[in-house]
């Protein structure tokens, strides 16, 4: 399954292995990158893609293996070395200092900058690059003021400014709108015409087919295939990646909603900066209904979920759960009322990386029997609960005692999902539950949402993916700048119309 290319490769990694406590992230992986080539690195969550690239850019040291650049063996001890070799990486979690400006971030760490910085010159050069590659940025803005898409442009400019010849992009489109992804594709093509090479990590077939010349598939830390893009197909790649056939559609029982579970009446709330985030939002969720929330990220979705889970105060309006007024309820009151929450930010709001998988799984149930009696918790019962959930939700972990932070993003998400589904007694609030997940994990997340609905619970499902919404949700509401633009049955929702509503057109 490995196709050969006889020209001398720009980069050759051979026999790379790397283990983390309890996890073999890379197992004797070989990789070749040729000049002017765009290589896609495809694989499920936890397949070892990011680890392999972190080794190439010097952040991790491999346990075994060699790296050659232009036919010569190199030793990459740290990011300093990889930068000097012309390798640059845009990490999934951007490497930008939030409190610093765009320009400061672009030159950070560059040895050849003068001792006393000449910001005027840097600004001129950056603006020139930004024009040439059509990457618009505000040079003096601080990073925290920028949207995720803008931050990514800063990251790319940073590599271009350093004259990187080999660009590594870790899931570059995971956080972008479709328009932004198209622009990124243009930038990559332009860089290719200038002779630069790129490796991008992804688990989206569409991107592999659109962006890449060649594709390498990793599964469970091993290389399973290396193919030229033109000679393969999405279904072949999906099979290689997951190791089995996939179902692309979801069966669910016919839609027959029951009584109203959640009702929001003219709810207003502010965001963290004190600006109006929700403006007179009125929504209902009935038992056995999945209400999909469509909208571009940052239009009030996060605040909506926080209001419903008691994490954010209402400024005005009312929130009723099973006809009971819960407008001023605390998070614990909402948990006790059976509202479960899969938050947008998994690592900071949904899980504790330094606690074990078992502790994370028990985090909502530990207060009551069977996990505790009075003030004492019963560790054996937590472990046995954890073992059951690990099995049922297919969480890939060395064991229930492993620290959660050592799991891949997809398995952390599965852990949260397993816990929240257990805690759900009336309503499940799921915010971007499949973001950053591979096909297999996405499929199982969607399945779980539909199961909750079929059991007669209500589900609030926030997503940016229109196709996913139409497929999974029963009813779709569109949020734009904190307002509900429209509510419609998903059967009547055409993707084009949703797209326009999401952009604030045609209320």
């Amino acid at each position: 399954m490995i196709e050969k290319n006889n020209s001398q490769p720009l980069v050759r990694m051979s026999g790379i292995s790397k283990a983390f406590p309890g996890v073999q992230a890379n197992d004797c992986v070989d990789l070749e990158l040729h000049p002017g080539e765009v290589l896609a690195l495809l694989g499920e969550n936890g397949a070892g893609k990011s680890t392999l690239m972190n080794i190439l850019c010097g952040l991790y040291r491999p346990d075994a293996g060699e790296i050659e650049l232009r036919g010569r063996k190199v030793s990459i001890e740290g990011p300093k070395d990889s930068q000097a070799l012309g390798i640059g990486m845009v990490h999934q979690n951007f490497k930008l200092v939030d409190s610093m400006t765009v320009l400061e971030n672009i030159i950070l760490g560059m040895k050849n900058q003068p001792l006393v910085l000449d910001m005027k010159k840097v600004r001129a050069e950056v603006l020139q690059l930004s024009k040439r590659y059509n990457l618009k940025v505000e040079p003096d803005a601080s990073i925290w003021q920028l949207s995720v898409g803008e931050q990514q442009r800063v990251e790319i400019l940073k590599l271009l400014y350093r004259k990187a010849e080999i660009l590594i992009l870790d899931e570059p489109t995971a956080v972008l709108t479709p328009q932004e992804s198209d622009e990124l594709a243009k930038v990559i093509r332009l860089m290719k015409t200038e002779g630069k090479s790129a490796i991008f990590i992804t688990h989206k077939m569409e991107e592999v087919m659109n962006f890449s010349d060649r594709v390498m598939v990793l599964r469970k830390g091993r290389l399973v295939a290396g193919l030229s893009t033109t000679s393969t197909s999405p279904s072949q790649l999906a099979r290689l990646m997951v190791g089995r056939e996939l179902l692309f559609s979801i069966d669910k029982k016919p839609f027959s909603p029951g009584k109203t579970i959640l009702s929001l009446d003219r709810v207003c709330a502010k965001d963290d900066r004190g600006l109006d985030a929700l403006k007179e939002v009125s929504l209902n969720i009935r038992s056995g209904e999945i209400l999909g929330i469509a909208g571009v990220a940052g239009n009030g979705q996060k605040e909506l979920a926080e209001v419903i889970t008691g994490l954010r105060k209402l400024k005005s309006g009312s929130l009723r759960l099973d006809k009971e007024d819960m407008s001023q309820s605390s998070p614990i009151a909402m948990i006790k009322a059976g509202v479960a929450h899969i938050p947008q930010d998994r690592s900071s709001a949904g899980s504790v990386g330094d606690l074990s998988v078992a502790s994370n799984l028990a985090m909502k149930e530990y207060r009551k029997p069977p996990l505790s009696t009075g003030i004492f918790i019963i560790p054996q019962r937590i472990t046995s609960l954890a073992k059951k959930l690990i099995e049922r939700f297919k969480i890939m972990t060395p064991g229930p005692d492993t620290h959660l932070k050592f799991l891949s993003g997809g398995n952390i998400q599965k852990t949260i999902l397993a816990r929240e589904i257990g805690a759900c007694k009336s309503l499940l609030v799921a915010v971007y539950p499949s973001r950053g997940l591979d096909i297999g994990a996405t499929e199982s997340v969607r399945r779980q949402l539909v199961d909750q609905r079929d059991q007669g619970f209500g589900v609030l499902f926030v997503s940016e993916d229109i196709d996913e919404l139409i497929q999974v949700a029963d009813t779709i509401a569109v949020l734009f700048e904190g307002r509900v633009m429209a509510v419609m049955p998903s059967k009547e929702a055409a993707p084009e119309r949703l797209g326009l509503l999401m952009a604030g057109v045609g209320a």
Partner: protein, 316 residues
């Protein structure tokens, strides 16, 4: 006018050691290291600096000894917190406890036999005010220009360290380390080396603050010569918003209240001396609380985001 000039002169003298230590701690904290050993380092450098000045009668050797001791203690803190990844608060407190106790011990052992081996009551070399001809006659200005060499060094140090931090390449790197060491590391900056360097550099400045106390402000050695200044500095760093240029205001605040209460005591008021001695601390804390509260309301930048967190590259 004479009174204002004299209060101002005392204020500046009293503030000098605070500015040194504040700027030292700002450099340290900008590298993400919280050093609560300031009090201990100041006491140790004050006692060793004075002992050296007594035996050599050479003020520069005295300063060198104080600085070497401060650098060594800061290096110990760096080793414990950066390499051994010990808790920074615990390590800093230990250094202060050790420094206070050991300085007191040295004060009773380093002296000559003729003085019962004690340092108290001895005279060593000291910094003298250095002034230009005629300046001492000019009101206000003479308060600034009739000071010792270390104070003149402070005048240069404040703008220089501000310029370094905000306008130079290493300053940019330093700021990034305290905010986001992962990013700094990924950008090819040697985070570990920098943390050592700036912790030790901070120790040097803190030591200059301690040396100023025993070699100029109150020349000689006395038990607890710092009077808790090391703790005031921890607060002044916050008040300065980690900006060296603003260290001036905090130091003047503390020094100013000190100078005013000196005046009051000298004028023979009925207010108990213990109460007056307390005023500089009370006033500094009151103003700090108000200022910090106000700054928080106006949403200005706070502490370096990664302050007091240990850093290791492959941590997840």
């Amino acid at each position: 006018m004479d009174m204002i000039t004299s209060i101002l002169a005392i204020t500046i003298r009293a503030g000098t050691s605070l500015v040194f230590a504040t700027i030292g701690e700002i450099f340290t904290e900008r590298a993400g290291i919280l050093n609560l050993g300031i009090e201990g380092i100041m006491l140790m450098s004050a006692v060793t600096g004075f002992a050296a000045s007594f035996y050599t009668q050479n003020i520069f050797i005295a300063v060198l000894v104080a600085v070497a001791v401060g650098a060594a203690m800061a290096a110990l803190h760096a080793f414990l917190t950066v390499t051994m990844r010990a808790n920074q608060v615990v390590s800093g407190l230990s250094i202060t406890l050790f420094g206070s106790g050991f300085a007191s011990f040295l004060g009773q052992r380093l002296g000559p036999a003729s003085n019962n081996f004690r340092l108290v009551g001895l005279k060593g070399a000291r910094f003298m005010p250095a002034s230009l001809e005629g300046i001492s006659e000019v009101p206000i200005l003479s308060a600034f220009l009739n000071q010792d060499l270390l104070t003149y060094l402070v005048y240069i140090l404040i703008p220089l360290s501000w310029f370094f931090l905000y306008k130079t390449r290493p300053g940019l790197w330093l700021r990034s380390i305290g905010e986001d060491p992962q990013t700094a590391d990924a950008m090819g900056i040697d985070v570990i080396k920098a943390k050592y360097f700036y912790t030790i550099l901070g120790g040097v400045f803190i030591a200059l603050g301690g040396a100023h106390l025993s070699l100029s402000y109150t020349p000689g050695w006395a038990e607890n010569i710092t009077g808790g200044r090391g703790w005031i500095v921890v607060a002044l760093v916050i008040f300065s918003m980690w900006n060296p240029a603003r260290s001036l205001w905090g130091a003047l605040l503390f020094g100013g209240i000190n100078a005013v209460q000196f005046r009051l005591q000298a004028s023979g008021t009925n207010i108990p001396a213990a109460f007056l001695n307390m005023l500089p601390y009370l006033g500094t804390i009151a103003v700090l609380v108000l200022m910090t509260w106000w700054e928080a309301l106006s949403k200005k930048v706070g502490a370096p985001a990664a302050l007091s967190q240990a850093y290791m590259r492959e941590d997840k």
